[in-house]
């Protein structure tokens, strides 16, 4: 039984890694950060959490619907006190993975004034979106989001005005 334990652990680790489409090991940045969030929610955890999300609450019901088809959500965010606490090389490993054929960048925003970069990538297979990666970096901030599964970005964006998120009014060009 004890001999099988390492194998079981390896299998569990492999299952976690296979669900996560992007691998980011940025744990070393946590020591420099004033605030950091590390969320690794695999499919089983999402489905378990769904049982505790109320269908009567508007926000929770929206999230419940969205996670029904997801296989995982992986997030790392860091906030730093001073600029320059992280280097572009820290993100290079993630960017390299996003250069793969299955990923395509749909949005890239660069703010010269604030020194912010924001990108959204979608991963598709057989012409169907099965993952999203969001990279947001600023002098004092670094966020990587990987949502695994069929993601509807409109639904995700529509959470603005909910969950305590201020709503951004998007005016369509005439």
């Amino acid at each position: 039984m004890t001999a099988l334990r390492p194998l079981a652990l390896l299998a569990a680790a492999a299952a976690v890694l296979s669900a996560q489409q992007l691998k980011f090991n940025l744990d070393y940045l946590a020591a420099k950060a004033t605030d950091s969030v590390d969320l690794s929610l695999n499919g089983a955890t999402l489905q378990f959490a769904a049982r505790f999300l109320s269908s009567k609450d508007a926000d929770e019901s929206k999230v419940k619907k969205m996670i029904a088809s997801l296989d995982g959500i992986y997030i790392r965010t860091f906030e730093f006190k001073d600029a320059g606490a992280w280097s572009p090389a820290d993100l290079e490993g993630v960017r390299q993975q996003l250069r793969g054929a299955e990923w395509s960048r749909i949005v890239g925003v660069k703010s010269g004034q604030e020194g912010e970069n924001a990108e959204i990538y979608v991963r598709s297979e057989n012409k169907k979106i099965n993952g999203v990666a969001i990279l947001v970096s600023g002098p004092k901030e670094l966020t990587i989001v990987n949502i695994v599964g069929p993601v509807d970005l409109d639904s995700l964006a529509s959470l603005g005005g909910h969950l305590g998120i201020p709503k951004v009014e998007i005016t369509k060009p005439k």
């Binding site: 929610l41 999230v63 947001v136 998120i165 709503k167």
Partner: protein, 95 residues
């Protein structure tokens, strides 16, 4: 000595136990608990343990569920904030 003092004195006065008292106490202490009572108490203890374990497991599961729910809500909050932020930048650039 008034009547109250007298009453107290009478009530609290040392009284010897009845002659067979020590024997009765020793016989009671040595008496074995009937086996049916012992068997029932074992079942009761087992049932209580099952209730406690089941209740504890349910409470733990509930706790884990609420933690998972909070994590999911936080994940969506972060993702939605970032997407909204990007949308705001796009909108700003379009102006």
């Amino acid at each position: 000595m008034d009547w109250l003092e007298q009453e107290l004195k009478n009530t609290l006065a040392r009284k010897d136990p009845p002659p067979d008292f020590a024997g009765r106490v020793l016989r009671g202490a040595g008496r074995r608990v009937p086996s049916s009572v012992w068997r029932h108490s074992r079942w009761l203890a087992a049932a209580a343990a099952v209730v406690v374990i089941t209740g504890g497991a349910a409470a733990w599961r509930e706790h884990r569920g609420l933690v998972a729910k909070e994590q999911v809500m936080l994940a969506f909050r972060i993702a939605a904030v970032k997407i909204n932020h990007i949308q705001a930048h796009i909108q700003e650039a379009a102006r």
